[in-house]
């Protein structure tokens, strides 16, 4: 991507604000540069978190303890979760937002360009803190990505580094969100009314509100943990009159909206890709907007479905169960609309569409297992088993990650001006699809049979499925190197892409901007009919 932006630089006088080399990237305030930074950062974190996942799967290849000790295993599951959620998936979608939102609404850049730069550059420091925690006495926290008290109160220095990392990540997200909301509400081109915006912008607008409302609650929860550890407070310390269950309530008040913070931008990307390859406008645009808002609002009143087993009154369980199943309604509206968009469309299946279809199929499957888990009597049986692990990987990987892949293949020609290798892209899709299911589908069986999560050892009867899952995981991990190769090959030697490589694509970046997009776009707002 950088190569292309550089070649384009020759057309303009002084296009990057005067700096070259690394300083250009450190000082850049251009939304496209920052989008690129976000995407590369998230890819690196995806690799780091992926290696941790492979350590977990290597240990679980056979029963007994072979590869790592249980303590390190716990650190791996914790860090894998934190890095994938906060380091890989979230920054990837912020990267898409940076690249696409200004172009889609006809704005010259983000509203606060320097703040944008800062939002990104907080991330490498946060990631370094997380990685540094491995080298402290006691190692990285091995408490699970949810950072539950009272373990977090007892952990070593690594926990403090993690808390600060979460603070930085939260600050970055909040600043980024304020920027996105301001951009969408104030910088739209004349005639670009809210209800004419591409759905991707809508999902991000709502996501940004979720972030502003939910991230500070997480910051509060980890700050309470920090003061419990060092400043003598007892929010979660039972010995001092606190309550560990309180942590779970505060955490999941953030944690459930977080699920939709990850999922909604993914919905947005898919809502751009499916109409483009169906050569039809999105079916039920307005209902999509309302469904997205409904999901966002409901996400704040369902948090305790993550903690049915902590001992809450039946009335509470019933309330959270009904509220949770209610979310299936707007989600169902979305899935219906995507399928209806494809209905009688002139479909073609290039790589972005393949990933979008993979998303549609697997995310719906993950949604159904979510519905199963929302039911109290079943959840009590399945709580903290591999069934839960399978469920959230279906929505996080097959949901969010597949849609990010779809977005990468979809917009890569626009960003770089060159086409990626379609054959290799399809290979990437099919390998990812097959190995993903090999890894995670069998985990449903393990969970139903009672295998608990976060344990490095298991009884002999679970061996077969675990072996299959581990082989699938290594295949999945290696297949992602193909993505790196496809992207690099596209940047270096891809065939030139036309202005509108996808026939059915209709948002502003395809209809109003040349390919590759110039470094500065829409300095004068576009004229919309």
């Amino acid at each position: 991507m950088s190569a292309v932006v550089d070649t384009h630089g020759h057309d303009h006088h002084d296009p990057h604000g005067g700096y070259g080399g690394i300083l250009r990237w450190i000082t850049t305030t251009n939304h496209k540069d920052i989008g690129t930074l976000y995407l590369w950062f998230s890819f690196i974190m995806f690799m780091v978190g992926g290696v941790m996942a492979l350590v977990i799967r290597a240990e679980l290849f056979s029963p007994g303890l072979q590869v790592v000790n249980p303590d390190f295993f716990n650190q791996m599951t914790t860090m894998h979760g934190l890095i994938m959620v906060f380091g890989a998936i979230m920054p990837a979608f912020v990267g898409f937002a940076n690249w696409q939102i200004p172009m889609m609404i006809g704005a010259p850049d983000m509203a606060f360009a320097r703040l944008n730069n800062w939002s990104f550059w907080l991330l490498p420091f946060a990631a370094s803190l997380l990685v540094l925690s491995f080298f402290t006495p006691g190692g990285a926290p091995g408490v699970g990505w949810t950072l539950y008290a009272p373990l977090t109160v007892q952990m070593g220095v690594g926990m403090d580094l993690t808390i600060f990392a979460v603070h930085l990540l939260g600050m970055s997200s909040i600043l980024g969100s304020i920027n996105i909301i301001t951009t969408i509400l104030n910088l739209r081109a004349p005639g670009m009314t809210l209800m004419r915006m591409p759905l991707f912008c809508w999902t991000w607008l709502i996501t940004a509100y979720l972030l502003v409302a939910a991230m500070p609650v997480l910051a509060g929860a980890v700050t309470m943990t920090l003061t419990d550890r060092h400043f003598g407070t007892s929010f979660f310390n039972a010995a001092g009159g606190g309550d560990p269950v309180l942590y779970q309530h505060v955490f999941w008040f953030f944690g459930h909206p977080e699920v939709y913070i990850i999922a909604l931008p993914a919905f947005g990307v898919v809502s751009q890709v499916i109409p483009a390859f169906s050569r039809k406008p999105l079916f039920g645009y307005a209902s999509m907007v309302y469904a997205t808002s409904a999901i966002a609002i409901l996400s704040f009143i369902v948090w305790a479905h993550h903690m049915y087993t902590v001992g809450m009154p039946v009335t509470g369980q019933l309330f959270f169960m009904y509220a949770t199943t209610l979310i299936a309604v707007p989600t169902g509206v979305k899935v219906f609309n995507w399928v209806a968009t494809m209905w009688k469309g002139s479909l073609t299946f290039e790589t972005p569409m393949l990933f979008a279809c993979g998303f549609l199929f697997l995310f719906t499957l993950g949604g159904f297992t979510g519905l199963v888990l929302s039911l109290v009597p079943i959840d009590i049986q399945l709580h903290d088993t591999y069934y839960v692990v399978a469920h959230f990987h279906y929505v996080m990987v097959a949901g969010a990650l597949f849609s990010a892949f779809a977005g990468i293949y979809f917009w890569l020609p626009k960003w770089t001006g060159k086409m990626y290798d379609e054959t290799l892209g399809k290979w990437h899709f099919w390998l990812t699809m097959i190995f993903f299911n090999m890894t995670f589908f069998v985990q449903h069986f393990l969970g139903l049979a009672g295998m608990p999560r976060r344990i490095p050892d298991y009884p002999l009867q679970f061996e077969t499925w675990n072996k299959i899952s581990s082989i699938g995981a290594f295949g999945f991990g290696l297949s992602q190197l193909l993505l790196l190769y496809v992207v690099l090959k596209c940047i270096r030697s891809g065939a030139p892409a036309p202005q509108k490589p996808w026939e059915g694509a209709d948002s502003l970046e395809w209809t109003h901007l040349p390919t590759p997009v110039p470094y500065h776009t829409f300095e004068t707002p576009p004229v919309l009919k």
Binding site: P137, G158, I178, N186, A238, A239, D243, L246
Partner: protein, 178 residues
């Protein structure tokens, strides 16, 4: 420029919302306590009531077997001074454990009790226990730690022996500070 002013105003509002939500996180604490108190569902912070009948039941004798473990890697020698005691239900009894820190540096540990049979834990009321707090031992230090307990006379008739087992875990990264 007008747009600039509007951008600033909107971003300030959003920042106030973010700060408000940070405060809301803290507001959840009293809210949670109120809900728990109103519904009477939080038994964690309540003191476990003492047996209503405090008379010593001399007709029964319970054998308390004392056991001690340390997690691998914790450089402590940890043992009870006696291997078992005979007690009457309702009688206040104190036993002692001894820890020796054999590492040349201070170490912090936390003991976790368990009972055999497991349900006997309900009837085993500890008044004083070293497991209530972290224990920090200086290099080479030896310390005797008491456990004072009462066995509830409501202990089911069939139970004549209770194994009390402590496992010490090292609290890492504390550098010996408790």
């Amino acid at each position: 420029m007008n747009l600039r002013k509007e951008n600033r105003r909107l971003s300030l509002r959003l920042a106030v919302v973010a700060l408000g939500m940070f405060g809301f996180g803290y507001a959840l604490v009293p809210f949670y306590n109120q809900i728990c108190a109103a519904l009477g569902i939080n038994s964690l912070v309540e003191r476990s009531e003492l047996p209503s009948n405090t008379q010593v039941d001399v007709t029964r004798t319970i054998t308390i077997e004392l056991d001690s473990n340390t997690v691998q890697g914790l450089p402590w020698r940890f043992r009870p001074l006696v291997s078992h005691v005979e007690v009457h239900p309702g009688a206040l009894t104190t036993v002692e454990y001894e820890i020796v820190n054999v590492r040349g540096a201070p170490v912090t540990g936390q003991a976790v009790p368990s009972y055999g049979p497991q349900f006997a834990g309900e009837y085993f009321k500890k008044v004083e226990c070293f497991c209530f707090t972290h224990q920090t031992l200086a290099a080479g230090e030896t310390r005797r730690l008491p456990v004072t307990f009462v066995v509830d006379p409501r202990l089911p008739r069939g139970v004549n022996t209770i194994a009390l087992s402590y496992t010490f875990f090292e609290v890492p990264g504390r550098g010996g500070r408790s």
